[in-house]
């Protein structure tokens, strides 16, 4: 047993350094529970008048672990100030704000919180689909504006049962979506980076083929260079004028300008969108459409998901410092 303190631990405390990386305005309310096990370094609370980079260079050189409060960007420039860094624990499902290439180059492991949020994200995707097809937000609006009394019944919506649902990305979230939609009588198919051998649903190697055999597309995949604007005009055309797109992934999975045009021209049947290319800005042209449901990036904002994320973060940090296997490792291709 060494009498020297581990690099990256406060002398005598036995609590290793963990850097919390966040926008100044982002709350990380779990710090209290983390301090029982770790020494938390946070430039905004520890040294608010010092530029963050200076703090990192001065104080975080020994930190082996970093908690990246999503979606605070973690670029190569910041990573270079952290020579001891070995793991980045992401607190969101997406990791497109983290320079994965630089992490791969440095041998830094990256984990995300996908598993913590997967059920809520899947529930929300199903909710958006039900809303679009059954026109719920539009009908609720209609009723509250007094139009049921004035104009009679709200026009008919569309049945969910019997719809062919194409899931783009059959990871945690996508699998949960598939499980939920089956008893509604939907036919499930999917596209993913690779076919899943144990999966009973039909696999399509291209999004184009998936779209031509689907009535609904649900986007549950990560945003990467390959998936940027993967839903383009061609895919929307093939999906058709009764086709519906649900997005609980990232706004840039869809070519938003083309989406707006397709919807306005009636070339696409409807859309349920929780994410946009330039949040919180969003295309106001959609406000007049009853077959579109808009949501301010809320799919996983529940106390239950946040608690699960807190537990997952602590558990991964403990595992890392005990040399045990990490959960939710982001696999590099």
């Amino acid at each position: 047993m060494s009498s020297q303190p581990e690099p990256g631990t406060e002398p005598g405390s036995g609590r290793p350094d963990v850097l919390v990386h966040r926008f100044r305005s982002f709350d990380f309310p779990f710090q209290a529970s983390f301090r029982d096990h770790f020494t938390i370094l946070d430039p905004w609370t520890d040294s608010p008048d010092e530029p963050a980079d200076a703090f990192l260079a001065r104080r975080a050189g020994g930190a082996r672990a970093l908690v990246c409060v999503g979606p605070t960007p973690l670029p190569a420039d910041t990573l270079r100030l952290l020579p001891s860094l070995q793991v980045v624990i992401g607190t969101s499902a997406g990791v497109d704000h983290i320079d994965l290439r630089e992490c791969r180059r440095r041998g830094i492991a990256v984990t995300n919180a996908g598993a913590a949020f997967a059920e809520d994200a899947a529930d929300y995707a199903v909710a958006l689909l039900l809303d679009v097809l059954r026109r719920m937000s539009a009908a609720d609006r209609y009723l509250r504006e007094g139009l049921w009394l004035k104009n009679g019944n709200y026009p008919l919506g569309f049945k969910l049962g019997g719809k062919r649902v194409g899931i783009v990305g059959l990871g945690n979230i996508g699998s949960h979506v598939a499980k939920r939609l089956q008893p509604f009588g939907c036919d499930i198919a999917y596209n993913s980076r690779s076919k899943k051998p144990s999966c009973p649903f039909p696999y399509y190697a291209s999004i184009h083929d998936l779209a031509s055999n689907s009535d609904v597309l649900i986007l549950c995949c990560a945003l990467t260079e390959e998936t940027h604007h993967v839903i383009n005009r061609e895919v929307m055309t093939v999906l058709g004028d009764r086709g519906v797109i649900i997005n609980v992934g990232r706004g840039s999975l869809i070519d938003e300008k083309e989406l707006v045009q397709s919807l306005l021209q009636g070339e696409l049947g409807g859309a349920g969108l929780d994410v946009f290319e330039d949040e919180p800005n969003m295309p106001k042209e959609l406000f007049g459409l009853d077959n579109v449901v808009l949501s301010p990036h809320r799919a996983v904002i529940t106390p239950e998901s946040f608690e699960a994320m807190r537990e997952l973060t602590i558990s991964n940090l403990k595992a890392f410092f005990s040399n045990e296997p990490l959960s939710c490792l982001v696999q590099h291709k």
Binding site: E119, D120, A122, D123, Y124, V126, A127, L128, L130, D131, L133, R134, R135, M136, S137, A139, D140, R141, Y142, L143, R144, W148, L149, G152, N153, Y154, L156, G157, F158, K159, L160, G161, G162, K179, R180, L181, Q182, P183, F184, G185, E279, P280, N281, M282, F287, V293, L294, S295, P296, R298, I301, T302, P303, E304, S305
Partner: protein, 313 residues
């Protein structure tokens, strides 16, 4: 068959009118300014009535149509139909069960998601331009929440099947315990409400089930509890519901039906912990066409001497 007179009580669905007109002589009740005049001129020609839950075929109508043989209801609910009288007079009655089970079950789950995840409120938030000013805030997870079903018939069972895929534990209240069912049974609605987070009404409206959800049930459901109604407005004591919501004794409600449609209480219109739908439970193109096809098929079967597809009487 096009000489057979069929009376439609009120506008329901254009497709249904078209299909009836292809096969029968269709009389649209609402086209005649004087009901008395209509009966005087045409009562002898009417051998069938197509009604719905808004305007069924009541005693007065039966008495006015001496040649009435069959009433085909464009609905599954029969609360506006005097069944006893039909049986007495040997008049056949059909409804449209099964075809709308899925749609109503879908709306029940959608309302549960709606109250907990507040996506209707989120949509209004975005459309109102409020996103730039700040975040919408937290909503409540749906998966895993316990659900109590009042009435485990076709629709109740379909709701249970869907909710199970969200890992929701299911319990129920019914007139009697159902054998071969693996959900937990409670002998009365209050006990059920005490043991679940979300209570959904999916039973038929009868003398016994009128106001089956009253203050006691709502108090048992509690400040975190959610009431979903896809049955009939009369299942719920609406003034009691409004007080319970205003006073925070009940957490939220998802309602597709109201006691006095299309009137909805002002207080409800202002609440953000409720989702309000204008009785759209089975209002999909696919289901309405299927219901219409069933009405037509039942009438055709009757008038060609074949067995009715979905007889009630």
């Amino acid at each position: 068959m096009d000489a057979i007179g069929v009376l439609m009580t009120c506008p329901m669905f254009a497709y249904l009118e078209q299909e009836l007109e292809k096969r029968f002589k269709l009389y649209r009740f609402w086209d005649f300014p004087s009901q008395r005049q209509f009966f005087k001129s045409h009562s002898g020609s009417i051998r069938a009535v197509v009604g719905n839950t808004k305007l069924g075929a009541d005693s007065a109508l039966i008495d006015a149509l001496p040649r009435l043989e069959i009433v085909a209801s464009y609905s599954v609910g029969l609360d506006k139909i005097d069944l006893g009288k039909y049986e007495e007079k040997g008049i056949r009655v059909t409804n449209t069960p099964e075809v709308l089970t899925d749609d109503v079950a879908d709306i029940a789950i959608a309302l549960m998601l709606g109250v907990l995840r507040k996506f209707c409120g989120c949509d209004a938030f975005v459309r109102g331009g409020k996103w730039k000013g700040g975040d919408f805030g937290f909503t409540t997870k749906f998966s895993g929440k316990s659900i109590g079903i009042v009435g485990l018939g076709r629709i109740g069972s379909a709701i249970a099947k869907r909710a199970e895929a969200f890992n929701c534990p299911i319990s129920y209240y019914s007139r009697s315990e159902k054998p071969h069912v693996h959900y937990k049974y409670y002998p009365n609605p209050v006990a059920l409400a005490r043991h679940c987070r979300i209570l959904v009404v999916a039973c038929a409206l009868t003398e016994e089930t009128r106001h089956i959800i009253g203050r006691e049930v709502m108090d048992a459901l509690g400040p975190e509890g959610v009431l979903i109604n896809v049955g009939r407005g009369a299942h719920v004591d609406e003034p009691a519901l409004i007080s319970a919501l205003l006073e925070g004794r009940l957490g939220g409600a998802g309602l597709d039906v109201f006691e006095n449609e299309p009137e909805v209480a002002e207080e409800l219109l202002r609440m953000d912990n409720v989702v309000l739908l204008p009785h759209v439970g089975s209002d999909t193109v696919e289901t309405c066409e299927a219901m219409a096809d069933l009405v037509v098929a039942n009438l055709e079967a009757h008038f060609t001497g074949k067995p009715l597809l979905t007889p009630v009487v």
